[in-house]
Assembly symmetry: C2
Homo-oligomer: 285 residues x 2
């Protein structure tokens, strides 16, 4: 049996064993769910698209009135130190910035910065080739352009998703779709236009890459997509850092297209994997 490696984390300025990484209960994440985070993928020791994830992390903090206590290069150095110490083949780096140790349990204080690294699995290939079923739920994430730690709705829906035999949930507001709790959403229209909701969504890094990749082959749109558009689509998929592109073949009781992952989705996934490989090759130089 392989030994489980002891993992290290970064907490409030220092690298320490993950099992010693604790926050005092006065922290505003515990008191008021106040914080932001971001998550990037590390392959063979190389953090993929790190600058883009870090820029979004700083922007999320700014939108919440929080200040990341270290500059960009210090954050990168801490990430690289963790990567060396933890030595994982494939992993995710999660940065969390909380509202800090609040004296009155409401007003933000000096923010606490945490960096965690944990092993990661890529999406199951069988699932990619079968596609997933999702349900829909009326909800708009507040302050959608920031990656806040508030997942109250997504987590509450875990049981309903399971009970309905689905894999995830798509949010909409009065029939206009936005995003999934942890993923962006795309459809391929009958004319092969690659379209994704333009408002009330997290500016996903994978979403951005997919739009760029799709732009060289297809017409792309960031705009209003209704549930009717989804039901009428040729293909649909979700995007995320860990899931890359995952085909969606059923939304509520409606089968999308012919109920199988479509050629546009799968070709964009191949392009995305190539883009990651290219980044990886650049990073290794």
């Amino acid at each position: 049996m392989p030994s489980i490696p002891k993992l290290y984390a970064f907490l409030r300025g220092e690298i320490l064993p993950l099992d010693e990484a604790f926050l005092h209960v006065s922290d505003l994440s515990i008191q008021r769910g106040y914080g932001v985070f971001d998550f990037l993928k590390v392959q063979d020791g190389h953090p993929l698209f790190m600058n883009e994830y870090l820029a979004r992390f700083y922007e999320s903090a700014r939108l919440m009135g929080l200040s990341v206590p270290v500059p960009d290069h210090t954050l990168k150095a801490a990430i690289h130190e963790l990567i060396l110490k933890n030595n994982l083949p494939l992993s995710g780096i999660k940065m969390i910035l909380t509202g800090g140790y609040s004296a009155n349990g409401y007003n933000p204080a000096a923010p606490n910065l945490i960096i965690l690294q944990q092993p990661l699995s890529l999406p199951d290939q069988a699932l990619v080739h079968k596609g997933i079923k999702i349900i829909t739920h009326a909800y708009v994430r507040e302050l959608a352009q920031a990656k806040t730690i508030n997942y109250t709705m997504g987590i509450r829906l875990i049981n309903e998703i399971k009970a309905r035999g689905a894999d995830d949930v798509l949010y909409h507001h009065e029939g206009i779709v936005t995003e999934l709790p942890r993923c962006n959403f795309f459809i391929i229209k009958q004319d092969k236009t690659v379209a994704t909701p333009g408002q009330d969504v997290l500016p996903g890094i994978t979403r951005k890459h997919v739009l760029e990749l799709a732009g060289s082959k297809y017409k792309t749109e960031e705009g209003t997509i209704t549930l009717d558009d989804v039901f009428a689509a040729k293909e649909a998929f979700l995007t995320s850092t860990t899931k890359r592109i995952l085909p969606v073949v059923q939304v509520d009781d409606m089968i999308i297209g012919d109920g199988k992952p479509g050629p546009v989705s799968l070709s964009l996934l191949a392009d995305l994997i190539s883009l990651e490989q290219a980044q990886l090759a650049t990073g290794k130089k």
Copy 2:
């Protein structure tokens, strides 16, 4: 200089010094802002209306799919032990229940229960007799009937409230008012009806007591209140456990009534204080 008493807290089954009360960073409050809480007032060693607050705490947990790990009587025993150990003349007891130490940072695990006790100040009498100014903001708290730890919007608005010379913010949805981040809201109509929003609000314990007290003297209503109703009101006030009844004399740029705390608000405040005293007397028996 008086010595600062060392405070104790309850954390995951044991009483320990507050400054040793830490949660591991895998806790779902830190990872995903997932948790509920409640807050009650303790005067002269007696927790006021404890059964009502505890019932709401268990109900909030249930609405979030979390299970309080101890029965009612164990929670009460822990609260009483803290009250004895901390020996504060006037204090607040805060119970927090988080989504627990999550293995994957998303799915709830065995919830972590925390009980904190801290000194409390009653509202400044000068403020009660002057009244406060509030601003308005379009927002509906998600899952309003539960006291979740999600205060993302309220905390983000702290700076705007201050910049506009106000004391707090009233949420509304398309002109229908609901509540403040930590308080319920009432108006006194021109015919002296005491009215409070009936939907999308936390079922406040003080709100309930004020409705009961008002019912013996005035007509009361729980229903739809628009911003126009607020601007046309004779009096307005907010309610909360710590603030009791605090008159509101200005909403955005509109002066309410004659711009001074009104007689109905102040008489209800006197009644509320009497109710607290009566509870206190009962508890001391």
